[in-house]
Assembly symmetry: C3
Homo-oligomer: 307 residues x 3
């Protein structure tokens, strides 16, 4: 089977079969990163451009490692060093990159929809590495891969997502993916962090973390954007942590074998207590490991590879 | 035939034979970037350092892709991350890089003559990727390659170059190259943007865009440095655009099969109307594609390769 | 013989045999960088992460070139582009990188002990590329390699180290290494730049450059951190240069065949006169060349290679 899409723009566009294809391909790539020689010649002579218009260590590094382990040539372009400082539009940047014949362009951008714009403009495959508050599909895929690896399935699981749902592309992509794969998703956060009409995405909505995590198989904690403090989104970090931090006490409401996830970077003591982040239920670092495999799978499948 | 020069510092130093050698070698490399596996082993085990003391997406990316498609190891050093922040001189930086045994150093620098200084100091090949308002030889070579590919020749063509001629390294390198190759070059811009005694470079000088483009085979529009507005170079962008923007109306004065070129990044609506930049006469993206091939040719020829 | 350590954190931890092993391995790698094809397949499929939380051209470039010449995949992460801007702790950064299965992490950090913290946390090899005012072991190793290459031995030589001893990780690592290898080390600097109880490191202490360099086989000049001027460490650069600059006059007190060393970047006319830096006694650029070889040796040995 092969992925017939040119681009990976969001989880919203993916069918169950496509998600399964990506996850299974990723599982087959996990082994490469554990070898003595962590490299396969699959994408030799392919060019992958990481175009990051927002800072990010882990996502850029994960894509770069994924590309290199497949023997692709990887090129990093970050906003601070790019022509963007000369005021070039994203459209012109994209067309210029297209003219240099890359195979895949990985885009991180602060504007929702930026990867979709690129995908329409250029003939190369675009992978959305996070666009504004819209989607972060590779994060959701690595999250689903982690859940499937640990629980054997996604369908029927109860997943709680807690934090700033309204501004989180991670939450949005996971809600699309998890509900499509048959999980029950409960979200929780302060009223100011819950988007209107979020129920229409097929989730249940709660205003207390305890109500969302009760009986959960999986708890996904979202990163609080500290820079949003005092911007009328939440009163203070202390206040937020008091009511929404995942800790030793409220985690007891979840199933005994609950898994704790976080997209990173973690604010210890804000959205998650340090002993929970580092505790036995945490699969946060497995998420990172699986991230490399998911990105290898996508680079491979979008370059024409078959499962 | 082989290039006997150690360095590529400017078009001014190149003979007609040398320009032809570079263009023909570049033409032979165009095909590599269109293959399924876009990579040849030509420069395996060679080290190319991209030393960019001024920000640039497209030129740095173009050199990096060129190096990687030839299998060279490429190292990027940009001003913001370099020891330059500790106050090291360019001379010491260069001698240090030399001691690490690279094969080619590609230098972008804000000071005219910086690559010439380096070339005298170090034994490695230096490629000038733009030095102040002096020269940008790889841009002129890719421009000539584009003209030759489309028109079959350069000699005898009428080329108009419009904009801030005085501060443009692109204009200067193209004037050297195009006049040497037998084209007739007409320049136009506001009086404040035309250098004194520019006629001595063998071009005709005009103060209205209409006079320069009349009967032109090629129109090269230069980028306006927006940051120079209100610095007594030009009164306002609006004023500049009113008189010097290439648009649907003034382009009619050129030949029917005129080609429109621009080194990028484009200021749409300032020096060039959007419908012209994206219209059928525009070869702006071909310039970018040819840029990779020209840089592959130079890396190859300066590393001792033969045509 | 093989290096049994997981990490290279400091010279203080190295035995004479370990230092000799590293220097001999480095000598065997010198030749690779002088070949036509400067690349060996030794570390193919290995991933080396250069995590630089402080700016540095030469050290990062030296490690990157070393990695590439051994065919490793190299990934650069610099503070300005990393998640550190989002407030992630070094611990979380390290654990995340660990989860991506690199083989070696090279760390430059402004905090003394940062690499030791990392080494305890992650299973990969850590190489200290400079931590605060603590150690810079690869610099000391390349310095010892340079001395050995020129003098045939280290034991019994008289080495003067002059400058801001108190704040210099280069001085500290060299004092550990040189005294262990049997050299006699004399340090000199203004009283404000000499740490208390420095004699306990086995060196003699002087307050005049003349007293330290008298009879020296080797003079190591340290870089003055210009940004420390007027911070009560020294009164002015002019004052410092007057008393502690190595020049034509005070160098005469050393042996006739004295070698002059400097870790770079040089402040010409501050700690070293230009004619001395560029003169026949200077081996400053050999240090840089040897730096690539020392880093190749460490990457090789820490990845399980044998001498």
């Amino acid at each position: 089977m092969r992925l017939t899409k040119k681009d990976l723009l969001g989880i919203k566009d993916l069918s169950v079969d496509e998600i399964n294809l990506i996850l299974e391909t990723a599982e087959s790539f996990i082994e490469v990163s554990t070898r003595e020689i962590k490299k396969v010649p699959t994408l030799r002579g392919k060019t992958v451009i990481n175009l990051f218009m927002e800072p990010s260590t882990r996502t850029r590094t994960s894509f770069e490692i994924a590309g290199k382990r497949l023997s692709a040539d990887t090129i990093n372009i970050s906003a601070s060093t790019s022509s963007v400082v000369k005021g070039e539009t994203l459209i012109d940047t994209a067309r210029n990159l297209e003219a240099m014949n890359p195979d895949v362009i990985v885009l991180r951008h602060s504007a929702s929809g930026a990867p979709h714009l690129l995908a329409r403009l250029v003939k190369q495959s675009i992978i959305n590495a996070g666009d504004g508050a819209h989607e972060h599909p590779t994060q959701a895929l690595l999250d689903m891969m982690t859940i499937k690896a640990r629980k054997g399935r996604i369908a029927g699981l109860k997943v709680a997502i807690v934090g700033d749902i309204a501004h989180s592309r991670v939450a949005r992509s996971n809600i699309y993916g998890l509900t499509r794969m048959g999980a029950q998703v409960a979200v929780a956060g302060p009223a100011t962090m819950l988007p209107r009409a979020i129920e229409q995405m097929g989730v249940t909505v709660h205003y207390r973390i305890e109500d969302a995590v009760r009986g959960a198989d999986i708890i996904m904690m979202l990163r609080i954007q500290m820079e949003r403090e005092n911007q009328n989104v939440f009163p203070s970090l202390r206040e937020y942590a008091k009511y929404f931090c995942l800790n030793r006490k409220n985690i007891r409401l979840a199933k005994d074998d609950v898994l704790v996830m976080h997209p990173g970077p973690i604010n210890r003591g804000v959205e998650i207590a340090p002993d929970i982040a580092d505790g036995p239920a945490s699969v946060i670092l497995e998420q990172v490991t699986n991230g490399v495999a998911v990105r290898m799978a996508l680079l491979y499948l979008l370059s024409g590879g078959r499962s």
